[in-house]
Symmetry: C2
Subunit: 145 residues, 2 copies
């Protein structure tokens, strides 16, 4: 799920149409290794397709999510999407609050977590938020000026 070609192949293997807009959407998420809000996507796509409508963006985000191409998570300020991690092994993420890019953390806290027997665990969430190297640098530059 890391290349535009793979995504397109997956689309057509499901009998879905490969439209220009969907190709662009795939390209956007492949380039951008991070979370994007529907609005981010709409603004980006809008520059390319005049007369683009918000509902098509939503529909395509949904399609991609159902295909397993994208994954969705809730932030404080709303839903965001990113390319689904195709990595074999379970992992978590560092997430940059500025640019939305993510970096893998191999360590999974569930190994060390004692859970009462009575509690039936279904899933867990572990995310670390902060600022990545380049966003920290920008911030410092801004502070100086």
């Amino acid at each position: 799920m890391h290349t535009v070609e793979e995504i397109i192949a997956r689309l057509s293997s499901q009998g879905l149409r490969v439209t220009d807009q969907r190709k662009t959407l795939a390209k956007l998420f492949v380039q951008e290794q991070g979370y994007l809000s529907p609005k981010d996507v709409y603004e980006y796509m809008g520059k390319i397709y005049s007369g683009l409508s918000f509902d098509t963006v939503y529909r395509n985000l949904r399609v991609m999510e159902e295909l397993g191409v994208l994954e969705q998570i809730m932030f404080e300020d709303g839903v965001k999407f990113k390319l689904h991690c195709r990595e074999e092994q379970h992992h978590h993420h560092l997430i940059c609050l500025q640019c939305g890019k993510t970096y893998p953390i191999k360590h999974c806290p569930m190994d060390q977590t004692a859970v009462p027997q009575q509690f039936k665990v279904v899933k867990h969430k572990f995310e670390v938020f902060g600022y990545c190297a380049s966003c920290v640098r920008e911030e410092e530059a801004d502070a100086l000026s």
Copy 2:
């Protein structure tokens, strides 16, 4: 922040009015040791106050949050509130997907997590979801019937 009286005291110490509705809201969250959506709260309160309006519920949830009485988090299906943990030490939660109740986890995964030096960590989220003992039992009972 564990009793209705403490919450009321905090309200009036801030020059805010102690209304019936706010007392009921406090009682609700003190009893319920878990997450409630604004809708949950509205439905509960609506049974008591006919003509209750949604915006008042929101306003009071907000007031309580600003007082530090409640805390808010985002779930897949929207915002929810619960009594703010007054515990001294940092901890995380087991959260029941059925009833919304929470149970503390002392272990904090950040201790074991290696983060690249360049990444400036601001906060983290660690939550374990599943079903608590009583909800598991109900589920099993349902399965049998």
